[in-house]
Amino acid sequence: MSSVTSAHSVVEPSPASKRIAGAIVILYALITMIPLVWIFLTSIKSPPDSISYPPKIVFSPTLEGYCNLLTTRTRQTPEYIASLPAPTGTCDEVTRKRNMVIAGPSNFLPRLPILW
């Protein structure tokens, strides 16, 4: 970028100092991102994975957390769940795996500001 400019400026930082500055800033940015990235990763973990020890970095992502947030579920017998027609959506599917069926939206849903 700066190698193309022909005019030399005495106040322009040297390439070496730029590289060191860049390295430190990027390192800081990456470290401060860890908590945020971790919370996002936890949001797409299954409940057992999210509280496992040692913390799981490799896991199979699932939308279960979001489904649990947005729906109310009730427990049903395996026979009843087996008698139901095929699941209509992702949330239906992950809920049935836990022997539950979706009973309706959660109390949280009407409070989501994006839906107003």
């Binding site: 860049g22 800033v25 401060t32 908590p35 936890t42 020890y53 040692p54």
Partner: protein
């Protein structure tokens, strides 16, 4: 100039409106327009303040609204100022404010100085660094509590991985010695970008020709930093310290969410004590007195600080 602008506005006003408001002077119309705002401000900001001052001289209790209210004079103030618990809370607050400001200023200024080297992609990384500042304190408090969990949290796991201390011993929120630092870490993580942003504005405002002149005078980089960069960015750094100081003096949300003042009362900062006095002991009068004392303290300190800031600016 102002008169002319007003005339132009008056000409642009539809004749029917102009007809209806004829007879009102410009000043009167201005008052009509700002009256709703003033009424709202008085009702929502000024009235509660005056009411709190009144309550601070009484023995009023908010959970007994029908009990007779007696004027107790200055005894509420006396009790607050002689209460050792409240002085303990003030010390906790001072510890918290001192360390958060120190860490945030040092890290924030260093980052701003490095970003000002304008390396490739610095704009992108600046934006990334600013993200923690944009989150709600409620969200931050909740997810840091999850990260601090000794059994399942990432923080304890990472620390034990590096130091070899078993995770069960890393009770960031449960240990008397670590809990204050847990809150300081979260506040520093969240608000360093804010200090960095203000410092960056300060560094960008230093004109290049000063550095060019210093270069002509063969001043070393070290000398340039201490004789140009620091003095010229100092008003901005001081402004950042002022903002963070006022904010952290009344810190409530993050402490409530992370420790709730515990363990014991080791992280009970002034605003937590205030809330407990007002809504757990229901000593509304005493809580009002405490609130007024806190307000006067912040107001006084901030005023002295602003005077110093103005002196630095005029140099």
């Amino acid at each position: 100039m102002v008169e002319k602008a007003a005339d132009a506005t008056a000409r642009a006003t539809p004749t029917s409106v102009a007809h209806r408001v004829r007879g009102l002077s410009d000043r009167a119309i201005a008052w009509v327009f700002i009256a709703p705002t003033i009424v709202l401000l008085l009702a929502i900001n000024i009235f509660p303040l005056i009411w709190a001052i009144y309550l601070s001289f009484t023995n009023y209790r908010a959970n007994r609204p029908n009990a007779p209210v007696q004027n107790v004079g200055l005894s509420n103030y006396e009790r607050v100022l002689t209460d050792p618990d409240i002085w303990q809370a003030m010390q906790t607050t001072a510890h918290f404010v001192f360390w958060t400001i120190l860490l945030q200023t040092v890290i924030g200024f260093t980052l701003a100085y490095l970003i000002d080297r304008k390396f490739r992609g610095h704009a992108f990384w600046t934006t990334l660094i600013l993200i923690p500042m944009m989150l709600s304190p409620a969200v931050v408090g909740n997810f840091w509590r999850f990260l601090y969990e000794p059994q399942i949290g990432l923080f304890a796991y990472a620390v034990s991985l590096v130091t070899g201390i078993p995770t069960a011993d890393i009770q960031m929120l449960g240990s008397v010695s670590l809990a204050p630092w847990a809150i300081i870490i979260v506040d520093t993580w969240m608000w360093t970008p804010y200090v960095m942003l203000i410092c960056l504005a300060g560094l960008r405002s230093i004109p290049d020709y000063i550095y060019e002149a210093a270069e002509v005078d063969r001043a070393s980089a070290w000398r340039q930093f201490w004789s140009i960069t620091v003095p010229m960015a100092l008003p901005f750094i001081m402004l950042a310290v002022l903002f963070r100081g006022i904010e952290n003096f009344k810190m409530f949300d993050m402490v409530t969410l992370l420790t709730g003042g515990g363990p014991g009362s080791t992280t009970e900062v002034a605003s937590i004590t205030l809330k407990r006095t007002a809504f757990e002991s229901w000593a509304t009068g005493r809580a009002s007195a405490f609130a007024i004392i806190l307000f006067v303290a912040v107001f006084g300190l901030a005023n002295i600080y602003v005077k110093a800031l103005n002196k630095v600016k005029q140099r």
